[in-house]
């Protein structure tokens, strides 16, 4: 089976790694958008994510990975409970599901199980990718090329956290809460503003300009390909350490406070940049908390705000075609005024 390159062996790309780490600490930040050229390691980073995530507890046999510790279970689990079955739980790895560009709507939302219909003549819902991604990650490469009807669907599900299917007399709603990770090359097309808004954080990646770093990337990659097992063993400790850091950050998260002064600053920042809606501020708040937890701090500071602002806001700026500077520069310009 193919091995994934370890996350902690990825050279540079600190912003991308930070954004992904924050989304694992606080999933409600709402997804990460990664824009950059081909061959910058976007997909390597995302594939390495699965190994970092601490396993989660699920109901055995539940297609939606129900969490046994919460009161409201999915319809399938409720039905099993009602039938007197005692639900067992198990630890599984967090799903990271690929949504390919050409996926059909049936495959994404789920459809009637054709196999069951043929062999048993019964109607059974066959869950789709959205079900598979529940409580995990949904990764869309080339998200900016996704067909409109799928974009609409995702926007809706990402907002409600629920997938509703009405088909052949079946009426099913199941939880579909996932962290959306999108990647793409901005030169190939723009993303609809509504979709942009669904992503909590956005990063712009490019190949490291430092030659020494590039050389290091190739050397590590070469070593990994030559002997993946030995390479993975070499990074075992750092992977475990990072995993532990994510776990402890999650525990710390609920205790992190944000002072009113910092909140005020965040509001002012959004107003100054003219970001639409409240989502920018919400993301800033959640993101700051996660960042503080990641740093081991108990209180989010203005410094955290400063570090987070480009990630949380750059994709929310209104476009100004006559302003030549990139949105990152615009955020930084305003930040410079503030600090």
């Amino acid at each position: 089976m193919a091995f994934n390159f370890p996350f902690t062996a990825i050279v540079a790309q600190d912003e991308m790694k930070l954004a992904i780490a924050l989304s694992t600490i606080e999933p409600s930040i709402g997804g990460v958008l990664i824009f950059g050229d081909r061959g910058t390691g976007k997909s390597t980073t995302i594939r390495s994510l699965a190994a970092l995530l601490p396993p989660m507890k699920v109901v055995v046999g539940c297609p939606y990975h129900c969490d046994p510790s919460v009161p409201n279970l999915c319809f399938a689990c409720e039905a099993r409970k009602a039938a007197g079955e005692k639900l067992k739980s198990e630890l599984v790895s967090v799903p990271v599901v690929d949504l390919p560009l050409g996926a059909t709507e049936d495959r994404v939302v789920g459809a009637l199980d054709i196999e069951k219909a043929l062999s048993h003549g019964i109607k059974v819902f066959e869950p789709g990718l959205l079900a598979k991604a529940n409580r995990g990650y949904l990764y869309i490469d080339e998200v900016n090329l996704l067909e409109d009807h799928l974009v609409d669907l995702l926007i809706d599900v990402a907002a409600s956290g629920e997938n509703v299917v009405e088909r052949e007399g079946l009426s099913i709603r199941h939880p579909a809460r996932f962290v959306l990770i999108g990647s793409g090359n901005p030169e190939e097309g723009e993303l609809r503003p509504q979709m942009l808004d669904r992503f909590g954080l956005s990063v712009e990646v490019r190949t490291p300009q430092d030659l020494a770093q590039r050389i290091e990337i190739i050397k590590r990659r070469d070593a990994f390909e030559r002997d993946p097992v030995a390479f993975l063993a070499q990074y075992q400790d750092s992977e475990a350490e990072f995993k532990e850091k994510i776990l402890s950050s999650r525990k710390r998260l609920s205790k992190v406070t944000i002072g009113d002064d910092v909140l005020m600053l965040a509001t002012k920042l959004c107003a100054q940049l003219g970001t639409d809606g409240l989502r920018g501020e919400l993301t800033l708040m959640r993101g700051m908390r996660a960042l503080a937890a990641f740093d081991g701090a108990r209180k989010a500071s203005a410094e955290h705000l400063k570090r987070l602002a480009p990630l949380a806001l750059r994709h929310r700026l209104r476009r100004n075609p006559l302003d030549d500077s990139s949105s990152t520069t615009r955020v930084e310009r305003v930040l410079a005024d503030f600090f």
Partner: protein
């Protein structure tokens, strides 16, 4: 044996095939730029019968559907057996072999997306919903028959292939000889490959020379390392040596170069050369493999390894590599790169055009049908609907029998439900592509260019939510140059336009021809071209590329009438300080809207007029 340039290009193409046969997964594939013909056949048969006779070659048809590619429920077999039968997709069957992509430039974005996903994971799912997957590694052979610059293989696909070979300019004589590599050599090399080491100083040189040529992709660097190792394996070595590094750099980096190394400008062609080149071969940026190697020393060829047995220093090695890569770049692309223009119209001409296919159009290339109601002018796909209904028949019949019969109900043979209905979809790129033809000559070049740039950006900003695209052709010196291929990306437009210089003569006729060609190619893709011509109408370079006002104007008039015949919507903006009779005559000849606007201060006015015209 002396080798001429065509012959060594042929040997290079064969070497690339051998390397891919040795390490298909590590090198991804080879993109063969060539029209269908005997030379291409010769190359492929060399690959198939001489290098890899035991390997499986799977052809992937252009219009392949997802189920065929990735596998899925086999409806026919399932109905026959009465239990689900899954069939493996073509990709799963290709594991360990090669896939062949004919007409790769026409592959749909969906097919490319599926391919990329499998390449990326190195695995394919066994069933639709299975958590089970099987490894799926293969090499790709893509035949790009596109005619540049308007059609070429999708950059996403090209990125995943280490090599590009160009067979179009080779003669049969060039290909008379063949490299003496047999399947036994390949087998032995394959066995040797895992043990082959690449010294880190070589990795460093490779990364450095890639950076010098403006190659950003990490994948390209990796390909070069793999290519060097495969070469070493082929040459019976235990480790990569200088020769392999230099050759690998040439094989992998030459067609990827986006600029020339900054420190070595001495061979930069002068203005004269650049112009002559682009006039001759304006439409063939990725030119002849033939000429590719005119200045290539035979010593760099894989057949005759370098004599120098002393260890060259790191600097010398890099020097050698830079030379080798430079030698591999097609001459006219070289001129472009040297002029600092990047490789916009050869490498990425198709960027921004793919994937934004509108699939709800009423005409165009047929796309996969999707579930839906045939309302609002959408047409029912009867076949697909029946196909969708068939699996449920037994179940529905049972249901129907259980229910009390309704009076006057027609008992049809086949039970179709609303959910079965499928509607036909066609791929069509909707929307408008506005092509700016900008006369960047003379004294007011800077100002006019600035206005045109403003208009382009304004248009893009106004309409990026719609499916509109913008392109720009500039008249410079003796040629018309595609400075911005059709794009929807503001980022890209800005970058390309920022680097656009002005000055030189006014080859209006050539410009009209270029704009006509682009407009026609856009129309073929299902979009509507809109042409905006910005000039004072004073032509001074003829179609042949020589000076002479009279002839130049006559040529321009002739070309203008071709535009009229083609029936394009054209906006003619006279940029002279007072309305010009010549300009008006041209506008008349092409049946354009004539707009004397001597003092445009903002691109806004132009963009509004263009938007207005587009709506008509």
């Amino acid at each position: 044996m002396t080798t001429n340039s065509g012959q060594s290009a042929w040997f290079d193409a064969q070497t690339a095939a051998a390397l891919l046969a040795i390490d298909p997964h590590g090198l991804g594939g080879v993109c063969v730029k060539s029209q269908f013909g005997s030379i291409r056949d010769a190359w492929f048969s060399f690959f198939q019968t001489q290098l890899a006779p035991e390997s499986h070659f799977q052809k992937i048809p252009l219009q392949i559907q997802r189920e065929q590619l990735l596998g899925g429920l086999d409806l026919e077999a399932t109905l026959q057996c009465g239990k689900p039968v899954y069939s493996a997709g073509l990709l799963a069957k290709s594991h360990g072999g090669f896939i062949v992509l004919p007409m790769a430039e026409r592959l749909s974005a969906d097919t490319i997306a599926h391919l990329m996903q499998v390449l990326d994971r190195g695995a394919v799912d066994l069933q639709q919903q299975a958590t089970d997957s099987m490894p799926c590694l293969f090499g790709m052979i893509a035949f790009d028959e596109g005619i540049p610059p308007y059609e070429s293989i999708h950059p996403r696909l090209a990125e995943h292939m280490a090599f590009q070979v160009n067979l179009d300019q080779l003669s049969l004589k060039d290909c008379a000889d063949s490299l003496q590599i047999t399947s036994t050599d390949i087998r032995k090399a394959k066995r040797r490959l895992p043990r082959i080491q690449c010294d880190s100083r070589f990795i460093e040189s490779l990364v450095q020379s890639a950076a010098a040529f403006g190659i950003e992709s990490i994948r390209a660097n990796l390909f070069a390392v793999h290519a060097a190792k495969a070469l070493a394996a082929l040459r019976h070595q235990d480790a990569v040596s200088e020769d392999e590094v230099v050759d690998a750099a040439r094989f992998v980096f030459s067609h990827r170069a986006t600029r020339m190394p900054s420190s070595r400008e001495e061979t930069q062609p002068n203005e004269e050369d650049t112009e002559a080149d682009s006039t001759e071969e304006a439409d063939q940026p990725s030119a002849s493999a033939n000429e590719q190697k005119q200045n290539n020393d035979a010593e760099l060829d894989s057949k005759e390894p370098k004599e120098n047995t002393d260890q060259p220093s790191q600097d010398e090695l890099e020097e050698l590599m830079v030379e080798a890569i430079r030698a591999g770049i097609p001459p006219n692309a070289l001129a472009q790169l040297s002029a600092g223009l990047g490789r916009a119209n050869s490498k990425h001409s198709s960027q921004g055009q793919f994937g934004q296919l509108q699939k709800n159009a009423a005409s165009g290339r047929p796309a996969e049908s999707r579930r839906g109601l045939p309302k609002g002018g959408k047409r029912l796909d009867l076949l697909k609907t029946i196909r969708a209904a068939i699996p449920w028949q037994a179940m529905r019949r049972t249901e129907l029998q259980a229910r009390p019969p309704i009076a006057n109900q027609i008992r049809s043979r086949i039970q179709i439900r609303v959910d079965d209905l499928h509607i036909k979809r066609y791929q069509q790129r909707q929307g408008v592509v506005t092509i700016f033809l900008v006369d960047a000559s003379g004294s007011s070049a800077t100002q006019r260019l600035a206005e045109a740039k403003g208009a382009v950006e304004q248009l893009l900003a106004d309409c990026y939510i719609r499916r509109d695209e913008v392109a720009m052709i500039a008249l410079r010196g003796r040629s018309a140059e595609v400075v911005l291929p059709p794009t929807r990306s503001l980022v890209r437009a800005k970058r390309n336009l920022a680097a656009l210089p002005g000055g030189g003569g006014t080859p209006l006729a050539t410009g009209f021809a270029a704009v006509n060609e682009m407009a026609l190619s856009i129309r073929r893709k299902g979009m509507t071209p809109l042409i905006v011509v910005m000039t004072d109408g004073v032509a001074n370079v003829t179609l042949e590329g020589v000076g002479g006002r009279e002839q130049a104007h006559q040529d321009a008039l002739n070309m203008a009438s071709k535009l009229r015949i083609a029936g394009h919507a054209i906006l003619f903006i006279d940029t002279a300080s007072a309305p010009q009779a010549l300009a008006e005559a041209l506008a008349d000849a092409m049946n354009a809207q004539y707009l004397p606007l001597p003092y445009i201060n903002s691109g806004k006015a132009i963009s509004q007029r263009a938007a207005h015209l587009a709506r008509q």
